[in-house]
């Protein structure tokens, strides 16, 4: 079975440029999560969706970040304009079901470097 698929795997761009990260969740999963991982902060939840609707985006800097899920099999996380402090590994995860005990399954991440 295909897992969570993220693209690109690596992105290097200059400060001020727009960056778009992409995610395809596991088929049938109705929850999708975007995380950011850094050495200092560890894994932080940015935003999550249930059935394509944003449930919580309190962890996302809304002045420059935006997240969308136009259909059940695709989500994007956009940063505009990008800043060096956005350099991190961004993970997408998906899970199934209403219960809080369902594990989240992670993709292999996008390593983002903003110069």
């Amino acid at each position: 079975d295909a897992g969570v698929i993220q693209s690109p795997r690596h992105e290097v761009t200059e400060m001020g440029q727009e960056v778009t990260l992409r995610c395809k969740p596991i088929s049938g999963h109705d929850y999708l999560f975007w995380y950011r991982q850094t050495m200092m902060q560890g894994l932080e939840l940015l935003v999550y969706f249930n059935n394509k609707a944003v449930m919580d985006d309190s962890g996302m800097p809304k002045d420059r970040f935006s997240a969308k899920m136009p259909n059940a099999s695709f989500s994007t996380l956009k940063i505009q304009p990008s800043e060096p402090r956005d350099s991190a590994v961004y993970f997408c995860a998906s899970s199934w079901g209403q219960a809080s005990n369902q594990p989240q399954h992670f993709g292999d991440g996008t390593r983002l470097s903003i110069l």
Binding site: G42, L45, F91, A93, N101, P103, Q104, F106, D108
Partner: protein, 112 residues
């Protein structure tokens, strides 16, 4: 504020030397405590979910336990392939479903 603290930050073991990793949590109304393994360049890989104090789960050389304040990941007779970062996370459930609070992780290195 929900908080998850893992210790030690790093652990070096010889192959076959058993040990334990600790995860202390203050998560209101904990609905699940999750353990993940993360290899370099990869996303976290799900290992276990624990729901209530006293619960234990095992997988190969790993056993996870849960009390009201902390969780332990016991590693019995580890092998070099067990080297990874181990993450624990708490889920408060209810209206906060999905908001996993992760600890900083324990980097485990097992030497042959």
């Amino acid at each position: 504020e929900d908080q998850v603290t893992q210790s030690p930050e790093a652990l070096r073991l010889q192959e076959g030397e058993s040990s334990s990793l600790n995860c202390s949590y203050t998560v209101s109304g904990l609905r699940g405590l999750f353990w993940y393994r993360q290899d370099p360049g990869k996303g976290p890989e799900f290992l276990f979910t624990l729901y209530s104090a006293g619960e234990e789960k095992e997988k190969e050389r790993l056993k996870a336990t849960l009390t009201k304040k902390e969780s332990f990941l016991h590693i019995t007779a580890p092998k070099p392939e067990d080297s990874a970062t181990y993450l624990c996370a708490g889920n408060a459930g209810g209206t906060s479903y999905g908001k996993l609070t992760f600890g900083q992780g324990t980097i485990l290195t097992v030497h042959p």
